[in-house]
């Protein structure tokens, strides 16, 4: 019985849907450049609302579904505790305060955009933003080693997606449904061969 060694053994539950709202507001406001790491720390380690396994499971479902991962995840966690009311409260908590902040920034920026200093600052921020997104792709690339499909195929599919969408500007729907669809069909066949 090694309960309590890796955080709360039984997951605690939020007291009310309002508590969910404030918890998600708090973690959204701490998340600069991505909310996921903060969500894991707050929900699993600090509050104990989910075990580590429950968190990973929710995340993996969130990744299969279309739509922003953290938004899907907050919806599912809210739903788990208080049904659709909880889902709405968690979703609102994730979005309302950050939305107010970012739109205030956008409105301020529109006023000063014509000054050379603001234009320079935004170019600098844009360059960093581009770099951060490239870095995200680079940091995710090693996860392909754990993919059940052959590494060479994964690398080829990632490279083809990059060239088609980033280089030739092929519409996303064609690539996701065409190339992505073909990869999923192949993966289904491949996984069946191996079992």
């Amino acid at each position: 019985l090694n309960d309590g060694v890796e955080g709360p053994a039984l997951s605690a539950a939020p007291r009310s849907a309002a508590a969910l709202f404030w918890a998600f507001t708090s973690l959204a406001l701490q998340g600069f450049g991505g909310v996921l790491p903060v969500a894991q720390r707050e929900l699993v380690e600090k509050r104990g609302w989910l075990t580590r396994e429950e968190f990973a499971e929710t995340l993996s479902i969130g990744q299969v579904l279309p739509g922003p991962n953290v938004v899907n995840m907050s919806l599912m966690i809210g739903d788990r505790f208080f049904g659709w009311r909880g889902a709405l409260c968690a979703l609102a908590g994730m979005l309302v305060a950050p939305l107010a902040i970012v739109l205030t920034l956008a409105a301020l920026y529109t006023r000063i955009a014509s000054t050379p200093m603001a234009a320079g600052a935004i170019r600098g921020m844009g360059a960093v933003a581009a770099g951060l997104i490239f870095a995200m792709a680079i940091k995710l690339a090693p996860t392909l080693k754990k993919n059940p499909l052959p590494l060479a195929l994964c690398a080829a599919a990632a490279f083809a997606t990059w060239a088609l969408v980033g280089g030739w500007r092929v519409p996303l729907a064609w690539v996701v449904l065409g190339l992505g669809g073909a990869m999923v069909v192949f993966a289904a066949w491949w996984l069946r061969q191996k079992t």
């Binding site: 899907n72 600098g124 960093v128 933003a129 770099g131 490239f134 995200m136 990059w162 969408v165 990869m183």
Partner: protein
């Protein structure tokens, strides 16, 4: 650039409805397509406004998807922000709500595992494409290209918070360095 008129609300909303369903692996993966539509096809925004919106959203706290209402705001003010965000949220959240209970029990089934395995490389390619689309208008200046490369290295090799990197980018840019 072409002006946004009242006839354009529906296409704007419809575009983000479609992006919502195509956002597999995160909202940022749809930025190349959003750029293609808003900047190249409709001309509602220019490259500077587009990358400024992404940068502002990255600099603020909250989920990555908030670049969507910021783009809407740049096109058509506050109503534009709300229409874009609603479009980006409604299809995917509705699907997530109904599919999650179903999926929770079937996460180990072949179909779900094949979907995750097959889509993962596409998602990584889409992020690289998003970086390319954002970098392309800037990378003609060697100093901006250098800043992009330094950011990539710092982000991969260190644990510096992105908000500090964006702040440094803003300072370097404001000083005329980019």
């Amino acid at each position: 650039m072409s002006a946004f008129t009242s006839a354009d609300w529906l296409p704007l909303f419809a575009h983000f409805l479609a992006m919502s369903m195509l956002a597999i692996g995160g909202a940022l993966a749809t930025t190349p397509e959003i750029h293609r539509y808003l900047v190249e096809q409709r001309g509602w925004l220019n490259d500077t406004q587009f990358s400024a919106s992404i940068a502002l959203a990255q600099a603020a706290p909250g989920p990555n998807l908030l670049f969507v209402p910021v783009l809407g705001h740049a096109i058509a003010g506050l109503p534009g922000a709300l229409v874009a965000l609603a479009g980006m949220l409604i299809p995917s959240t509705t699907l997530a709500f109904f599919a999650s209970r179903w999926g929770r029990k079937r996460r180990q089934t072949l179909g779900v595992r094949a979907f995750v395995a097959g889509m993962a490389p596409v998602t990584i390619g889409l992020l690289a494409a998003a970086g390319t689309v954002l970098a392309a208008p800037l990378a003609t200046h060697w100093s901006a290209a250098l800043l992009i490369v330094v950011t990539i290295v710092a982000s991969v090799k260190t644990k510096i918070s992105p908000v500090w990197m964006i702040a440094i980018g803003a300072i370097v840019g404001a000083a005329g360095g980019v």
